[in-house]
């Protein structure tokens, strides 16, 4: 199980993968928007999105949990 966390503070701009979707290592799960930049948050291991903890428009702080991948 991998916990995906925000690499920096920002807004959730786009959800790329939803609960139940499978992801490969390096694939984007969510894209944040911060400092006017798109910040992709990608999976570190292959797996399935077990839980998505954010919605588009949410503010997240650095280190906040974004998703759980199994």
């Amino acid at each position: 199980m991998e916990k995906l966390v925000a690499s920096m503070a920002g807004n959730v701009w786009k959800i790329v993968k939803h609960e139940g979707d499978s992801v490969g290592a390096g694939e984007d799960v969510v894209i944040l928007e911060s400092m006017k930049m798109e910040i992709p948050i990608s999976a570190e291991t292959d797996g399935v999105i077990k839980e998505l903890k954010v919605a588009e428009g949410d503010f997240v702080n650095e280190g906040d949990e974004i998703a759980v991948i199994e």
Partner: protein, 509 residues
């Protein structure tokens, strides 16, 4: 002749190192014997070894737990100090310390690189009066390292623990390579931490290789095996001269990595979209010549040695793929040391700029982002090697300054045709200047107003306007970047420019 036989037997005994059980314990952890490590490290083993018989009268302390000598790496003479952890866990006695001091002093006299193969439990407490406090005590090792710093390359390969005072050997090296699972650095062991401050923590968590290479930044390169660490050291050395008086060695030029994508294809037109800076780097450097430093640490900034047309170059590149390429405290710190390393050994610098600025917010202000950023600026500013800044997409705010902007005497600033240089990006600027107006406008008129102001702003910071004002020295076709760099580095190679006259600056640290 019995004395010859005696000599041969003694040599054989000392060469074996410590007791068999310690060799076995090391082998189980994937640790090689010190003499095997040296055999792999050098082109043709050690050429010279001194104080081989150190402490031979003690009987059970062959070479006093450390091998020191000189051998060749890529044909260059290099000094080495290598702990033998089969001898009292590689701990330091009086003669161990003296041997280390002497090989350092040899490196200083000959002005040749020195490599430290560290695998040591630290001081032998029973010997402390002889090896700890005095003029030729362990403190002198660090004093020598500080003196050697910038004169000759100093490399640390960490194969085991580097405890307490010993942890400063890696700290004063140019680069620290750590073997995951075996290497560690800490001032107080977990056992001591529990006794003294009541913290319960594992060695891996507190001072392991992964922690140091990803979190603390005390380690630079994380590897899986000792062989990998040794290969890295040999590759790393190939970019460096023997000392600060010489130029880096020139290698056979190679073409770039074959790719279907050109630089124009790689860099997205949309300023805000992420892309992978490594793809761009691959298209300007000689194939397979990238030797990354601090790969696992502060990944929003890429630092590494490479070759362009056979010549060494140090690359500092924003990575839009990670944290938008924004500069943070750790990335500024990472850049500062890397720039110092390259400048010390006459390796030209290349800044690949695509930076939205330094991070803002409470967290980074509390971490002291201003002083960390100042470190990067000060190292970059002081660097007198050929220095080229390429504005790949954007250079906003102090990000422009940190990436060798025009005010910091780079030899040139080159821009791609869609580059933007500004105090801040169009979105942020329009918001900063017109926030009140936007708030007053009826909802339906807002986006048109914002777009109009953004377009006007973009026109104002248009790159041709900046070229017209001679802020940038040239606007180039992205696919011509490599050729442009080859020509310019060749020209700037003869540059001679002392930074300023003084003892030394008062550095922001």
């Amino acid at each position: 002749m019995t004395f010859i036989k005696d000599l041969e037997e003694r040599i054989e005994t000392v060469k074996q190192g410590g007791k068999t059980k310690y060799h076995e314990a090391n082998a189980e952890k994937g640790k090689l014997f010190v003499r095997k490590r040296l055999e792999l490290l050098f082109d043709d083993n050690l050429d010279i070894e001194d104080a081989f018989f150190a402490n031979c009268m003690a009987g059970d302390l062959p070479s006093d737990g450390v091998v020191t000598g000189i051998g060749k790496i890529n044909g260059q003479n290099v000094c080495v100090m290598a702990n033998d952890s089969t001898v009292k866990a590689g701990s330091w006695g009086k003669r161990t310390v003296e041997k280390i001091l002497r090989i350092q002093e040899t490196a200083l006299k000959l002005e040749i690189p020195i490599i430290y193969l560290v695998d040591s439990a630290g001081a032998r407490i029973t010997d402390q009066i002889e090896m700890f406090p005095g003029r030729r005590g362990a403190g002198r090792i660090f004093h020598n390292q500080i003196k050697l710093s910038g004169r000759v390359p100093q490399i640390c390969l960490l194969f085991g623990p580097s405890a307490a005072g010993g942890a400063y050997i890696p700290a004063f090296c140019d680069i620290v390579v750590m073997v995951e699972g075996n290497a560690s650095m800490y001032l107080g062991s977990p056992r001591m931490a529990e006794k003294v401050i009541g913290e319960k923590v594992s060695l891996e968590e507190m001072g392991g290789a992964r922690m140091h290479c990803t979190v603390s930044g005390v380690g630079d390169v994380l590897v899986k095996t000792e062989e990998e660490a040794i290969d890295y050291a040999r590759k790393y050395m190939s970019y460096f001269p023997a000392n600060f008086r010489n130029q880096p060695p020139v290698h056979e030029p190679k073409s770039v990595k074959a790719s279907e994508k050109t630089i124009v294809d790689i860099v997205p037109e949309n300023q805000n979209a992420a892309f992978n800076m490594f793809d761009l780097i691959d298209q300007i450097i000689d194939e397979d010549s990238f030797c990354e430093i601090k790969k696992e640490f502060a990944k929003e900034l890429v630092t590494g040695l490479a070759r362009i047309d056979g010549h060494s170059v140090g690359i500092i590149a924003n990575q839009p793929r990670v944290k938008g390429g924004v500069l943070f405290t750790d990335s500024a710190d990472k850049a500062a040391k890397f720039i110092q390393l390259c400048d010390a050994f006459n390796i030209p610098l290349l800044f690949l700029t695509d930076v939205p600025g330094f991070m803002i917010g409470t967290k980074v202000e509390r971490e002291g982002i201003i002083r960390h950023g100042a470190k990067m600026l000060s190292s970059m500013s002081e660097a007198t090697v050929p220095k080229i800044s390429v504005i790949v997409r954007k250079a906003y705010g102090a990000g422009l300054y940190a990436m060798a902007g025009p005010a910091f005497e780079p030899d040139c600033v080159l821009a791609f045709p869609n580059a933007q240089i500004a105090v801040m990006g169009p979105e942020a600027a329009v918001n900063a200047v017109h926030a009140n107006k936007i708030a007053q406008l009826p909802e339906e008129e807002r986006s048109a107003f914002i777009k109009e102001k953004q377009d006007a702003y973009k026109e104002e910071i248009d790159i041709y306007r900046l070229a017209s004002e001679m802020v940038v020295d040239d606007i180039i076709h992205p696919n011509q970047l490599r050729n442009e760099l080859i020509k310019r580095y060749e020209v700037y190679a003869d540059k001679s420019l002392p930074f300023t006259e003084r003892k030394h600056g008062v550095y922001p640290v």
